[in-house]
Amino acid sequence: MSISAGDRIGSLGKLRLIARLSGGLRLLRATSAGRIAGLTALILILAFLSFYPLSMLLYGSLHSTPPGMAGTFNLAGYQDVLSQQSLIALLNTVGLALAKTIPSLVIAVLLAWILARTDTPFRGTLEVLVTLPFFVPPILTAMAWGMLGNPQVGLLNQLFQWVTGSSVAPINVYSYGGVVWHMMQYSTPFLFLLIVDAFRAMDPSLEEAARMCGASRWRTFRTITLQLMLPALTSAAILSFIRGIENFESPLFFGSPANIRVITTDIYDSINQRSPPQYQYATAVSFVIMMLLFLIVLLQWKLLRGRSFITVSGKGYTPAVIKLGKWRWATFAFCALFFVVMVVLPVGQLLIGSFFKFFGFYQWDMLTLEHYRAVFASSEFWRGFGNTMLLGLIGASLTMVLGGMVAYISVRTKWRGRSLIDAMAWLPWMMPGIVLGVGFLWGFALLPHAIPIYGTIWALLLAYISLGTPLSVRVMSSAYAQLSFDLEECSRVHGASWLQTMRHIMIALAWPSFAVGWVLIFFGIMRELSASVLLYSVGSEVLSVVLLKLWVNGNAEQVSVVGLIMVVLVLLFRWVQLKVIKAHISTL
């Protein structure tokens, strides 16, 4: 049943496309005033969230003085970009992104294959465990690894010295290797999540047919399995590469101390670490990185044109599971090791760090609870905690509502202007958090004084919504796409108005996806650092900013405490999310 419904959507889609081209005028006549007003409002909101900061970036990059001051228009910012230093930063950015994508992809493919196509024991649990690092804020793992791999007092080096008796410290996270290592921490589970469904959803009869035609196991893998996976793998790798370019935490924590500069930290430094701040240079560099990302996205379109993801139906297939025999314990150990290194080590470091008096000195008499007392007595912590929770709740809700509307209009209607809406909602995808932060910094500063957003938590809220919208649109689009048009049309024919249909059918059916997307956006807000660090001011700090401040002040012990609290929150939300997925999404 699900398959035939899908077919009908496909053929209808084609007709709809044709209808769209011809029916413009007639549709306009059928357009009610209410709909036009709603669409206009939506376009204005999206324009404020994407076009506005973008145009402010352009303005800023051509203007000689900081926001709000009299100045002249010139190209000095772009001239500075052409320096040798910036070129090195650019090369570092691309090189690091490449260097982390390749090993991450290899490990992710291996994990996906193990967990989707083999009979490794405890696959269900392992899958939850290996994806966990994706949900832990990178700022936490960065700090934990900063402690673990510290060349002087890091736990790993201490362990090495204790075991071997030598006095050399082999591990130094403040290096290219450290940056790559920390990026992998996040990008491996990210890639795994993107490709595992392609592994799982593949119809085994496609492979069996090749075997029946006389192809060997290896030839089948090469000519069928891999070819079918290729679009999914390429697309995931490019996405991961883009994330690598946008990455801020890893180069900030491990690159900057070793004087390894990338574009995102370059933008941050030129605004926060120089005096006077070099706004024009920062905005010009922001534009350069966006152009770079735009080129990559173009390349992606060109590469993947006409080759879609394998249609994930999720139903009816039992993926061919390979019996590994004794080797299944080896694959089990591989997954378990991944979890231990990526989660247990850093979280364990936070746990240990939070109970000892001084970071790096682990003796029994140094055990203490004073860091917990200090954190819970700190008004700054509570303010950050409150702000993060408030922004998370409001931000995730608003983002999902906005994404739900945009997705509905672009997936389910033939309304005019919906491709514009879709494109505007997608635009922030190409803007790294730090770039969007710079854009909004200018944007808010130039707003009339009657609209006091600058320096308040509403500035952060708007930036979070903008950053989260592309993801929420994607989540809701795929949720709507799974619902056959019949379900909606059936309701209309049987007497329900558009609004009633929305309430009883569409929202009622899509809410589990909404909830899952909501938690994802909430995670995104909780971990966001790069835009927050530019847009916060006293009173509107969020947890990640509080952490960064503590870290910069050398207070690694309290960092551990706050970090642990965040980990607990992450586990809690992830647990709720999995519950919702299990209870509601699998049954639909």
């Binding site: 419904a5 009908r8 019949d486 049309e489 024919v493 329900a496």
Partner: protein, 371 residues
């Protein structure tokens, strides 16, 4: 109950004409089937009646109320047309129970709770699903989903019932059973029904009248027997079963009664008489349709009777089909399909005569598309 009238209804998708100049009057209580191959425009026509698609030209009225008139810009939205519809996928809402699915049309019309209870229970009993009322919708089999979909379409006593290939997702046996059940319910309620299918046997078994469509146009409208027996053209003839189509030329023409004429025709190596709907001038080319079940085999020395047609040939193939045996005879006019009794003694290579009564041979104009 209401009638449905479509006048000069057309639908274009850009350059593509899905439905063109569609004229049909469905009377109150009548069961009319739109039949045709996929892409012939039958579903588009049904969706225009439902208001899910807007007609580019023409006028549609339901129960003497104009619901869509392209020239005057009238368009009544789906939910105000008071229709019941069964979708091909059934469109059972997966987040509701069987009861809630069926109650939906009443709930959106804000009927009092007691009435909802009463009507839903009654309708579920009609489709023999009352035991499943509290079952969640995803836990139903295909046949059960179909019953729920029918109950939901009937529950608020709609003006007209629309069905879009409702049986196509069921297996063959269930399809027959549900079709019969459905026809019985429809007769009992006397509901005006518009039904879409690509399955000719379904169309013949269920309908009062069949509308045969092809490439967006009506080919023929009539009772199932009439369309099967007296197709208007080659397309309609070929659509039902696997008829033998023979080319011939008309020699003489005489009227039998108001509906039929007798033609004397000559083909390649044979001549004889057949029937047709309209007079044809001598010398014109026609296509003669002979259904396999109307032909029978005879020994070579057996001559045709006075009112019979005869072709000679050799048996090329015999296929056992259970109730009948399909025999293919290679004649000078090409291959001839004959439905014989299941257990006859013919071997491949036997020489036989194919005998057909004259009144079972039906001539249709030889149209351009056929040549």
């Amino acid at each position: 109950m209401s009638n449905v009238v479509l006048e000069k209804v057309s639908r274009n998708f850009g350059e593509f004409v899905a439905v063109s100049g569609f004229d049909l009057r469905v009377n109150e209580g009548e069961f009319v089937t739109l039949l045709g191959p996929s892409g012939c425009g039958k579903t588009t026509t049904l969706r225009m009646v439902a208001g899910l698609e807007q007609n580019s030209e023409g006028r549609i009225s339901i129960g003497n109320e104009v619901v869509s008139d392209a020239s005057r810009g009238v368009f009544v939205p789906s939910e105000r047309r008071r229709l019941g519809m069964v979708f091909q996928s059934y469109a059972i809402w997966p987040h509701m129970t069987v009861f809630e699915n069926v109650a939906y049309p009443l709930r959106v019309r804000r009927r009092p709770n007691a009435e909802v209870q009463d009507l839903v229970t009654k309708t579920l009993r009609l489709v023999e699903m009352e035991r499943f009322a509290q079952r969640p919708a995803p836990a139903l089999s295909g046949g059960q989903q179909q019953r729920v979909a029918i109950a939901r379409a009937l529950v608020f006593e709609p003006k007209v019932l629309l069905l879009d290939e409702p049986l196509s997702n069921l297996d063959a046996k269930l399809r027959l059973q549900m079709g019969d059940e459905f026809r019985a319910i429809q007769r009992r309620l006397g509901m005006t029904t518009l039904y879409v299918t690509h399955d000719q046997s379904e169309a013949m078994a269920l309908s009062d009248r069949v509308v045969v469509m092809d490439r967006g146009r009506i080919q023929q409208v009539g009772a199932p027997e009439e369309i099967y027996r007296y197709p208007a053209n080659r397309t309609v003839a070929a659509f039902f079963g696997t008829p033998n189509l023979l080319d011939a030329e008309v020699e003489a023409c005489a009227r039998i009664d108001g509906r039929r004429v007798r033609l004397d025709v000559v083909g390649q190596g044979w001549r004889g008489s057949c029937e047709a709907a309209d007079e044809v001038r001598p010398g014109q080319a026609v296509t003669i349709m002979v259904r396999p079940e109307d032909a029978h085999l005879a020994a070579v020395d057996d001559n045709a009777g006075e009112r019979e047609l005869k072709w000679s040939g050799r048996i090329a193939q015999t296929i056992f089909r259970g109730a009948t045996r399909s025999i293919v005879v290679e004649t000078d006019n090409g291959r001839f399909n004959v439905d014989a009794a299941a257990f006859v003694d013919y071997a491949i290579g036997d020489s036989v005569n194919v005998i057909v009564p004259q009144r079972a041979a039906w001539a249709v104009p030889r149209d351009e598309a056929a040549s």
